[in-house]
């Protein structure tokens, strides 16, 4: 275990690291007609009761698929949520009925939108590590994807906020 001072250094060091962050060519996972890319997760503060995962799913097939849920050994519980800003107020809600991945379309789980909520992380998600998450699709079935733990691009210097 890290001491509080070390933890602070490690967590905040992400701010510095992110200044030099260049999005890597995301690992691509193919599952049936789905191409899954850009899976990432934010580092979690110590004791944070929830982490978050984002991913891009492209459906190259001719049949609509649906992301029904997710699970991870790194968290006690995993849910699909939607986040929105309504009149400047942040709202977060579980997604009912899954996230539709229409044929021929790309669906992004991304900041301020749909995301995977990792409730009860077993340990803080640290920059440079990966969080294994199994995505469960209606047709493509279960797909295991490694989510890279990193800062949002541009987050540290604030020049971009997705």
């Amino acid at each position: 275990m890290f001491s509080p001072a070390n933890h602070r250094l490690l967590f905040l060091s992400g701010v510095v690291a992110a200044l030099a962050f260049v999005p890597a060519e995301a690992k691509e996972v193919r599952a049936g007609s789905l191409l899954i890319t850009g899976a990432w997760s934010r580092p979690t503060p110590k004791g944070a009761p929830a982490g978050i995962g984002y991913v891009t799913v492209r459906n190259v097939g001719s049949r609509t698929d649906r992301l029904l849920g997710a699970s991870s050994p790194s968290a006690a519980r995993t849910e699909l949520h939607d986040m929105s800003f309504k009149d400047g107020v942040m709202q977060m809600r579980p997604v009912e009925g899954g996230i539709v991945i229409p044929a021929g379309r790309t669906v992004r789980l991304q900041p301020s939108g749909h995301h995977i909520m990792l409730i009860g992380p077993k340990r803080p998600f640290a920059i440079g590590r990966t969080v294994p998450i199994t995505l469960r699709f209606e047709h493509a079935g279960p797909v295991q994807v490694a989510f890279d733990v990193r800062m949002a691009p541009g987050q540290a210097n604030g020049t971009q906020h997705p």
């Binding site: 602070r8 110590k46 800003f85 400047g88 107020v89 909520m117 604030g158």
Partner: protein, 212 residues
Amino acid sequence: MTIASLALAAGALSACGGPNNRQGGTGEDRKAAASASYGGSFTLVDQNGRTVTERDLIGKPSLIFFGFTFCPEVCPTTLLHISKWLKDLGSDGGKINAFYVTIDPQRDTQKQLEQYLTSFDPRIRGLTGTPAQIDQIAKAYRVYYKRVNLQNGDYVMDHSTMIYMIDARGRFAGPIGYGEPDEHVMPLLRDLLAGRKPKSRQPDPRTSIERS
């Protein structure tokens, strides 16, 4: 995050009730506070067990942000930004208070805040209290927050996301919106430190109130 959503944030504030008349401080400070549309008396406790009241806002400018630790995106991102700003201010970083007030006191106990805040700049003071105490400061600052119970027995919190800039006399000096870039924020903080009115790029929420 764009100007449009910042304007929305201002709009949300305008929808959250009238001015609060409970004011703190004495003499000039009290008069100054009475002229502000945000603020009022409160009593909370920080992550180290120290009591914090509206009197702690007098003497140094402050940033106040309302959030909760179950929030996976907006709150840790905002705390990382505040940490960076304090660092980038160099020695002036110590001349500004930074408060993180939980709107979820059920989960965010003093112990939880103590642990959570070890991940951020140690100058950030996390404040919690009883639900009534949180309600009091939220009303004073017209923070919108709402507990939403989920079917699985869990709950989430809706909340407004702006950072309040407070001058050294405890008066509201302007908002900083979620995701506002550092190059906008740093001049605001330097104005705040110098005792000048920060030239916020966001619409002043009070203007929206008058219009609505």
